[in-house]
């Protein structure tokens, strides 16, 4: 019997375990497998195979029962996910429904999740701006959170590494606040965006308007073809999953690459309960899993564990990993676990119209967008709020028809739409300050269907966010006015934190084990064979979209783990 048990445990033993198959877990899996480690990848959701499991990807608009609208009853049942811009009939199957996975909101927080193999990498907005030392030095310069234990130079080779493989399009703009990378050709600005760029860059020194760097194959290289991916076909239906592999996702890229090594075992439907800590050995030894369907509990073992469950779920798993050594959650000697959660302030946007360049329009579709890098408080503190914001920008021109009347004239009008004025839009992407009072914790009573404590989220905006939002609206309005845009409409209707889908922190990196959870290699200070390389590790939020940085952290940490453990 003892032998049988040993054999069974042996079968459940790997060199490494990766918890989560999203954008950072996929990277951890690829790197571990490529370095020869037998790796178990645990994913709580169902399997989604590239192309095969994209049921809506080739559908025409008329093939959607409700023409892509989410029915009223479903919206009523799932108000949180229904607020997400991408939750439409064509991608609804990739989103977690509120009713299926409840959580506790001490304050309003729209937690948008994708529980399947590939996670939210299927659904992301594919924006990949590098962080710079203006970001990594931010907390030290402006005296908030704790100092990042790394600088840009530590991450640069790993940005290079992940960009080459993922395929990032962009221009080399030469901006210290937005370092250049290993880029494929950029998606061009259109004629009005170029006009705005010229206006702003000539009238506001220090402000830039550039092509946003994005994870699309504008011109694939051999490494992308080797992944089975081809050029992005400008469908801009990315949230359905791309049959061309035109954008980067775990499903199209890292996971099949990891599988090809023969070293990966992917186990979908595996809800991770906790990481197992062995007091005698003084390290983590494995992971407790609950099978999503059978509810059966089972343990898996490995020398190295990568936690990539998604920022808040990585917090949840550590909080739930209790042992006599770590009664308050694995690695939580500092008491900071679950605290200093932050996000991006996306609560304002502004729109306008433009009457110029009416002898031009655009044709086709473009996956990328336009980006205004942060300029506020960049070189020194100059405003009455800390940090700053980047902004998305776009100009487009569409046709519309007079819809008045009934009958033949109406029909004729609908079939002959006319080009209107240019539509202009921008949205803010603000840095928020991590605070101890913005936290997640285990709810004392409520459990989910698998017996896991529900996550209690208590995260809110603060005065700094309000001042920054006001400045964004005032500044953009001024810039729009300068450019001659008309009918400027400010929209600060706001949204709850979370809907930015850039929640970060709770397991932050830092120099000091007394005030942080992870060291500069993303290892838990007090349990170094556990690495956290998703959004949970972030010490501060920057203004840039964070996914590329998670990828770089994951690849860098694997390299370190394999060399040193």
């Amino acid at each position: 019997m003892a032998n049988l048990l040993n054999d069974s445990a042996k079968q459940r033993t790997y060199d490494a375990i990766v918890i989560g198959s999203g954008i950072s877990g996929g990277w951890a899996a690829k790197e571990l497998c490529e370095k020869g480690l037998k790796t178990l990848v645990l994913e709580r959701g169902r399997d989604v195979k590239h192309i095969k499991d994209y049921p809506t990807t080739n559908k025409y608009p008329w093939e959607f029962e409700h023409r892509n609208e989410i029915p009223y009853a479903i919206k009523q049942e799932n108000p949180i996910v229904s607020r997400c811009y991408a939750y439409r009939e064509d991608a609804a199957h990739f989103f977690v429904k509120d009713v299926e996975h409840p959580y506790v909101q001490e304050k309003p927080f729209d937690w948008i999740r994708g529980y399947q193999v590939g996670g939210k990498s299927l659904l992301w907005a594919r924006q990949t701006q590098r962080w710079s030392d203006f970001d990594f030095e931010g907390p030290a310069r402006d005296q908030f959170a704790v100092d990042w234990p790394i600088r840009y130079q530590d991450l640069k080779p790993w940005y290079d590494h992940v960009e080459r493989f993922a395929g990032i399009s962009g221009d080399r703009d030469g901006l210290p606040e937005l370092p250049d990378g290993e880029f494929l050709p950029a998606y061009p600005l259109n004629i009005v965006e170029k006009y705005f760029k010229q206006q702003i860059e000539s009238k506001y020194p220090g402000r830039k308007v550039i092509s946003a760097r994005c994870a699309h194959l504008s011109q694939p290289k051999q490494i992308h073809i080797d992944q089975g991916r081809v050029q992005c076909q400008n469908r801009v239906l990315c949230q359905r999953g791309c049959p061309f592999g035109g954008y980067f996702s775990s499903n199209a890229s890292t996971l099949p690459w990891a599988a090809k090594t023969g070293n990966m075992t992917l186990r979908p439907d595996s809800v991770v309960h906790s990481i197992l800590y062995d007091d005698a050995k003084g390290k983590a030894v494995g992971v407790k899993v609950i099978d999503k369907n059978s509810k059966e509990e089972m343990d898996f073992f490995a020398d190295v564990i990568f936690l990539n469950a998604g920022a808040l779920n990585s917090n949840l798993i550590l909080l739930n990993s209790k042992s006599s050594r770590f009664p308050n959650g694995l690695g939580n000697d500092s008491g900071t676990l679950g605290k200093y959660v932050a996000f991006h302030n996306y609560s304002a946007r502004i729109s306008a119209q433009y009457e110029g360049h009416l002898d031009y329009t655009t044709e086709g579709r473009r996956p990328g967008g336009v980006y205004i890098p942060r300029f506020r408080n960049l070189h020194k503190q100059e405003m009455d709020f800390l940090r700053g914001y980047a902004a998305g920008f776009g100009a487009s021109r569409s046709k519309s028809a007079d819809q008045s009347g009934f009958g033949t004239d109406l029909k004729e009008s609908l079939l002959n739409p006319k080009l209107g004025l240019w539509s202009i839009g921008s949205h803010m992407m603000g840095e928020t300050i991590p605070k101890e009072s913005n936290y997640v914790a285990l709810d004392a009573n409520l459990k989910d269907e698998w017996g896991m404590p529900q996550l209690k989220i208590s995260v809110d905006y603060d005065d700094n966010d309000a001042k920054m939002k006001q400045d964004y609206l005032d500044t953009m309005e001024e810039m729009f006015t300068t450019a001659g845009f008309i009918n400027i409409k400010r929209n600060d209707a706001g949204q709850a934190p979370g809907l930015d889908i850039h929640e970060m922190g709770g397991v932050r990196m830092g120099h000091d084990p007394k005030t942080s959870m992870l060291n500069k290699w993303n290892q838990l200070h007090s349990c170094p064979n556990v690495f956290v390389t998703d959004g949970a590790c972030m010490t501060s939020t920057s203004t840039q979209n964070p996914s590329l940085t998670y990828m770089a952290f994951a690849a860098r940490a694997v390299d370190y783990a394999v060399k040193h453990l």
Partner: protein, 159 residues
Amino acid sequence: MNRRTAIKQLFVVAGGMLIATSCDSGPQATSIALNHIKLNKADEDLLAELTEAILPKTDSPGAKDLNLHLFVMKMVDDCANPEDQANFLQGLQQAAKSNAKNQQDWQSYLAALPAEDAFVSILKRRTIQGYLNSEYVMKNKLIYELVPSRYNGAVKINA
């Protein structure tokens, strides 16, 4: 009867909607099953006249040809909130009392309703939506490209 004909008689595919004989089939039943609102065949026929009045057959298909009345029913049933559903049903009942006999009468009837009338705004919006997103229009009139494979940011318009 060959298999193809049999299938044709069982199902008519109208833009993603499978029109099958519903469970409570009978002369009173609508062509598509409804989950939230109650309509009968007479309502359906009336809606067909109304949508045809909005977008009539010309040298190209009209609302009836494209089953837009079924699309309107589907959207009101599944996507409208209860208040809009009630307003829509009430407006439809009002219309049923009209003496309108032909398309022109129906156009006059709709045009005489106040612009803010909930019934006519829902009816018209959904009819237009169904039309512009129909397979016919998207394949033959205002071509929808699933795979554009290009972006040109400065196309000179030949005025």
